[in-house]
Symmetry: C2
Subunit: 158 residues, 2 copies
């Protein structure tokens, strides 16, 4: 049984809030967000191949990756890491290159729940409510839910 994901898109505000518990210590979950070899194994929905062009998860670093669906369609994303504090916080920009220049700011907070469990609380702030609604309409929920299922597996491997 995997833990449920809470996705909240508050009416009339350009935010998406995501919350997920993990049956793994905060250090392991943070590592899975920070290390490119681990990120590659879980970020995104089940049926996507992920090509990681750059992933330097430290304050001032950058990332770019391409998701490729079974039909060969490509979805490139890029951003910068504004703040990275180990086992605590990642603040990064996020842009889907298919919607160029619509850049959101994402904040992921990592919390130790004790007993080897932890929580990730994410917020994305978009430059318009329409941009937020577009992301929700693109079924990002499936990508988030499936990505976290894959992350559970990465964490189970230790």
């Amino acid at each position: 049984m995997s833990n449920p994901v809470t996705i909240n898109a508050p009416e009339g505000l350009p935010f998406i809030e995501i919350e997920r518990d993990f049956d793994a210590p905060v250090e392991a979950v943070f590592r899975a967000y920070a290390e490119p070899e681990l990120v590659k194994q879980w970020l995104g929905p089940h049926d996507m191949e992920m090509e990681l062009n750059e992933y330097n998860c430290s304050s001032g670093g950058q990332y770019r990756y391409v998701h490729r669906d079974p039909a060969g369609e490509e979805y490139p994303f890029r951003g910068m890491f504004h703040t990275v504090r180990e086992n605590e916080l990642i603040v990064q920009t996020f842009e889907f290159e298919g919607f160029p220049d619509v850049v959101s700011i994402e904040s992921m907070t990592f919390t130790d729940l004790g007993n080897g469990r932890s929580k990730v609380t994410g917020q994305s702030a978009f430059p318009s409510v329409e941009a937020r609604d577009g992301i929700i309409a693109s079924d990002m929920e499936t990508g988030v839910v499936q990505g976290y299922e894959r992350l559970d597996k990465v964490l189970a491997q230790g």
Copy 2:
């Protein structure tokens, strides 16, 4: 006579929108945003000294500066340049270190109005309406209006 500044803080949304015309070509205005030696001469209110620690205005670059008021009080700011397209667009993160981890995303669009005139349209998106309201309450308007008056002078020097 300097051109008026329009500052819009839409009710219930975490945005600040700023618009200002300049009696100078778009290339000159963009340069004043991009070159550290020029930025130093205008960014911020009249009575502040500005110390520029870093200002690398290119995609992937970073900035940090400190405003110092006549009483010696310091206001440090930092961010990253997500996108810089010459004479067109700057997208950057923005953090006042006095409110750590509250990071907004700013987008400045540069438009050629013809006849040697140009327009800058800026948007800031904050991670909460409260953070936006806090910036408005800090009298950012004075800083913006006075900064643009100083920018007019920089542009007049050619």
